[in-house]
């Protein structure tokens, strides 16, 4: 460990979002405040064989005119979303290409699949029986690191450059690692985030686990984290970007400082590949609080991981109650509106929580009508709450038992 005296403070200077709640920060803020769902029924999925055809949906951006042909050929769906979110985040951070060219700006992004690119490429190879005919873009679209390799090329980044694949905690760990690289002084600025493809090829095998809600007649009611009558999650996607910077760098260039990353806690359950535990999240939560140097009662809001699965929500509710049972901060799962944004969720939920903190409200956990015995112990925001707050915590958990908790403080 580096001595504390050598540690940098790590601040957030830019945010960008492209999600089923909106294609930019302003649209998403309004959706969060209004408690608007981004979930739809996708008939194409039913035709494809999905048990549940519910999904979050966002249009693919038209990048012609924004990116040249070479860059576009390399980008898979989630890479396009990541590009849009990063464009917005860089503008939000008032960071232009001249600045990027003069510094070693890095990128650490969460992504854990590129199914459509893999499947369409393999289908073409099978049909043509000649691999050349798959074209030049396929290999760059299919790798898990597709987002970071593409964005690092497009924005000509010269710092740290890799992808974090940690299932549904990918985006959160990406921010946590970015925080550590800056805290330790190895980097001054890192573009962090998470991206998630939405296409029907990406979630078929997850659907196979019967983990998705089948409340198909009421798409906007189907994602109901913590509610007694929840019956599963709903996949979703898009991308979110968070610009992390050392406080010194942000002050030097006169950047807008939006918040400070105070703590990152992580753990592994050391148990089942898909069944959650209480102990794993408790250790991540405790570690985040310790890293932040704050007491549990200083956290005003928890953006829960809760995906709307019976087992996952119950375990998280127990973990939150165990650590925050005395202070009972407000809790909501924005997945009630977005569905589960998987590899992107850990980053998007930092953006959502930042928007709430900037605009003085707590977004509702929509569809929370009746608690069960675990969620009854939490202070869940059923409706939008107008409230200024200074510190929030965001949870992200993933297959294999990977857990990540981030704590962020408002910059005042």
């Amino acid at each position: 460990m580096f001595p504390a005296s050598c540690m940098n403070r790590v601040v957030i200077t830019g945010l960008g979002i492209y999600s089923c709640l909106g294609k930019n920060l302003a649209e998403v803020k309004d959706s969060l405040y209004a408690g608007k769902s981004g979930i739809v029924f996708d008939p194409d999925r039913k035709e494809f064989g999905y048990r549940s055809a519910l999904t979050g949906m966002v249009d693919r951006p038209n990048l012609k005119g924004l990116l040249d042909r070479r860059a576009r050929v390399m980008l898979p769906e989630q890479g396009e979303y990541a590009y849009m979110a990063t464009l917005e985040a860089l503008a939000n951070a008032k960071m232009d290409q001249d600045y990027i060219d003069s510094k070693e700006v890095g990128i650490i992004y969460g992504n854990d699949s590129s199914a459509e690119a893999v499947i369409s490429g393999i289908d073409l190879m099978r049909e043509k029986k000649d691999n050349t005919l798959v074209g030049s873009g396929s290999v760059f679209q299919t790798m898990n690191s597709t987002v970071t390799m593409n964005l690092a090329t497009i924005f000509k980044l010269k710092g740290i450059n890799f992808t974090v694949s940690a299932a549904c905690a990918s985006g959160s760990h990406a921010i946590g690692l970015g925080y550590h690289f800056i805290k330790s002084g190895l980097q001054e600025c890192i573009i962090c985030g998470g991206a998630q493809e939405i296409n029907k090829f990406s979630m078929g095998n997850f659907d196979a686990l019967s983990a998705f809600s089948v409340r198909e007649a009421e798409p906007t009611k189907a994602s109901r984290p913590f509610d007694r009558d929840r019956d599963g999650l709903i996949p979703s996607g898009g991308a979110a970007t968070v610009i992390l910077e050392s406080l010194e760098s942000a002050l030097k260039r006169g950047a807008p400082i939006l918040g400070e990353v105070l703590g990152y806690g992580f753990s592994s359950n050391g148990a089942h590949i898909s069944n959650p535990t209480v102990d794993g999240p408790v250790r991540a939560l405790t570690m985040a609080l310790k890293d932040a140097g704050i007491a549990a009662d200083q956290v005003a809001y928890i953006n829960a991981h809760a995906t709307s699965t019976p087992a996952g929500d119950a375990s998280e509710a127990k973990a939150i109650d165990q650590v925050f049972g005395q202070s009972r901060p407000f809790v909501s799962s924005t997945k009630s509106m977005t569905g589960h944004e998987c590899w992107m969720a850990g980053a998007s939920e930092i953006v959502y929580s930042m928007l709430m903190m900037q605009h003085g409200f707590i977004a509702p956990n929509i569809n929370f009508e009746n608690p069960d015995e675990d969620s009854a112990k939490l202070n869940i925001a059923k409706t939008t709450i107008n409230k200024e707050f200074e510190i929030f915590l965001s949870n992200s958990f993933g297959f294999g038992g990977t857990n990540s908790s981030l704590i962020v403080k408002k910059w005042t």
Partner: protein
């Protein structure tokens, strides 16, 4: 397919695929420079020829193709050979 039709088709898919002005493609112009081709773009050129004419350009064939006229001649020769086969 007549040679004129082949050339029209080539010009159409090249302007579309490589996003260049139609006017920049002339028989004498340099194919690589005009289309701004790098090593990866040549792979996409192989793909677009195959999808339009049903034959595959061997990478080594490009060494003899400098101008658009060279490219037209090459494609016409391959199309003719295919039609005769």
């Amino acid at each position: 397919m007549t040679n004129e039709n082949i050339i029209l088709k080539i010009n159409e898919f090249l302007t579309d695929e490589f996003e260049v002005e139609a006017g920049s493609i002339t028989p004498e112009a340099n194919l690589k420079k005009t289309l701004d081709l790098d090593s990866l773009d040549y792979i996409d050129l192989v793909v677009v020829v195959e999808s339009n004419f049903g034959f595959k350009v061997k990478p080594e064939d490009f060494t003899h193709i400098v101008s658009f006229q060279d490219f037209y001649d090459y494609v016409i020769r391959r199309v003719d050979a295919k039609e005769l086969a």
